[in-house]
């Protein structure tokens, strides 16, 4: 991994609304450092401040305080640094009355990087070559999303900022995009800043993640580090409700229709079984499992409160 810093935010704040009664602090003193050459996941519940942060990174909205630097250059003062960035922000939207190919031409010309061969190459790469002359109005959400990815790659950027890039894609399409993102980083040395609510996807593709909640970063680190030692126990017992009542007194639990997920380590297994047996609950199975990013995320968000 490179030591170059692709994205840096310093004390970044954004407040919407002028009147005190309507004022919303969407982002609060956000400090973030994303090194080049990795896939960086940006997670948070709805309304956590993800999109606001991304829009400030792209100079779409102005920060109330603090700064954003891309490759060491202040994004607002040196707008041209955004030429090294490809973006897909909150769902791909295009000029519906133009064809996919024309949309890419408009965006490439706007960025002063028009190259018809590059457009054909990208259309081929995202699987839209055959429908490139069709108006975007007739595209499905998944097709628009693919076109959005092609648009993000038009200038062959060093950094990709992708907000929910797999929205509207079928499982096959999602897998394709994941592989595509990983290849961009591993083979071409690009940096990807990825915001997604599909935590399984993030876990599979990201090197590091930051979790934002209520406008603040609550956790940040390498995925493996964050999940290290965060195993859970899957408990199958009858009656399940009684088992939940008993275990809740000692460990955080998540109930399911047929089993319980207990946030406890492998070493706690005998204690869990003992507590249940003492309470007259029949234990069928206790299995240790590695905590998923989704479980970790939910636990962190619960711990920090959320308006989602």
């Amino acid at each position: 991994m490179s030591t170059e810093i692709a994205i840096e935010t310093r004390n970044l704040c954004k407040t919407f609304g002028r009147r005190a009664s309507k004022r919303i602090e969407a982002v609060k003193h956000l400090n973030l450092e994303v090194r080049a050459g990795q896939v960086y996941g940006f997670l948070g519940p709805n309304g956590a401040g993800k999109s606001t942060t991304i829009r400030m990174m792209l100079d779409l909205i102005h920060s109330t305080a603090g700064d954003v630097y891309l490759y060491g250059r202040h994004v607002h003062r040196h707008h041209e640094i955004l030429r090294r960035v490809g973006t897909l922000v909150e769902g791909a939207t295009f000029y519906n009355f133009l064809s996919g190919r024309r949309n890419l031409e408009v965006l490439a010309r706007t960025a002063n990087c028009y190259d018809p061969r590059r457009i054909e190459q990208l259309l081929e790469q995202v699987g839209l070559a055959e429908r490139a002359n069709q108006r975007v109005k007739r595209y499905s959400t998944g097709m628009k999303q693919r076109l959005g990815l092609a648009a993000a790659l038009l200038s062959d950027p060093d950094l990709l900022i992708l907000d929910e890039p797999t929205n509207g894609l079928d499982p096959g399409g999602m897998h394709e995009i994941r592989t595509f993102i990983r290849r961009l980083v591993d083979e071409q040395g690009k940096t990807v800043f990825l915001s997604s609510h599909l935590l399984g996807e993030v876990e599979q593709v990201c090197d590091r993640v930051a979790i934002i909640n209520l406008g603040e970063i609550v956790r940040e680190g390498a995925v493996d580090e964050l999940l290290a030692g965060k195993s859970t126990l899957r408990v199958e017992a009858r009656p399940l409700q009684r088992a939940a009542e008993v275990l809740r007194q000692y460990w955080p639990i998540v109930t399911n229709e047929t089993w319980l997920t207990v946030s406890a380590s492998h070493e706690d297994s005998p204690h869990v079984v003992r507590r249940l047996v003492e309470a007259g609950v029949d234990v069928y199975q206790v299995a240790a499992q590695r905590q998923t990013l989704e479980e970790y995320f939910l636990a962190v968000v619960r711990e920090n409160g959320s308006h989602a």
């Binding site: 829009r55 779409l60 707008h79 922000v89 909150e90 024309r102 010309r109 706007t110 002063n112 648009a151």
Partner: protein, 296 residues
Amino acid sequence: MRNLFRAEWIKIAGNRWVAGCLIWIFPIGAVAFFAVAGLVLALSSSARTGLRQDEVFLWTEQAIGVWNFPNNPVGRLILLGFTAVVFAGEYQWQTWKNVVPRNRRAALILIKFLALGAFVVLAFSLMSALWTAGWAVLTRIADVSYGPRITWAVLQDFGEDYALAAGLAFTSTLIAAGYAALAAMLTRSILGGVIAGFALTFVENLSIVALMLIGWFLDIPRIVHLYRFTPGYNLINVASWINDNAPNTMRPFEESKYSDIVFSDSLGFSVALLALWVFGLIALTVTLFQRQDITS
């Protein structure tokens, strides 16, 4: 800059309904008018007689007269609609978020004004040519003379008058576009842009009445002099200089104790004022856009 202009051109021309109904409507309307009028003249002898009794037809006047269309209410409303689509469309289609990171905001707005102006000039030049040719056909059918004869002197005079009329129409369109662009940016909606743009044009035209009333009530009649700084007055004054080589003399309080208040400004004053309005409105739109948060 050429690429940016081309991108804007593709966006406008590619929106066939908008370009068709709000820009190409002018030349297409001219063709439709002449098709119907030609048919009527060809079939009706009374129509041909009626045309012969009308005034003298001069191709020079027909070609130049077309350029008054942007200043009449219907033409103005259509052009306001066009401007509102060009500026507010990006908000409604949520496409600013794709465009803004790719180039400087000031360049994006300036190119919109440039492309808009180019479309208007192209549409009206085309309409003017069609209108001139159309009347040539109609006068030929009705056997009416269609002068003046083309000589170097006629062409020279015509060229000057045409450039001035077109320049005036273009300036007036740019000012209206400035209002509509500002309104579109503030309301972030096409309809809002049209309504607010039309309201601003209307308020500007009525400002003389408001100033006169304020002058009467407060007994400070000189306040009416503020009207001399509006685009409406200066467009009329420049037109007067072009047509009559004299200022447009305007007496707001006619036959009253304030009848000594007269507007009669030089061509230089009006041209400078109009330039200031055009640059001011464009600069204001750019400044507003620079400070705006793109949230959709």
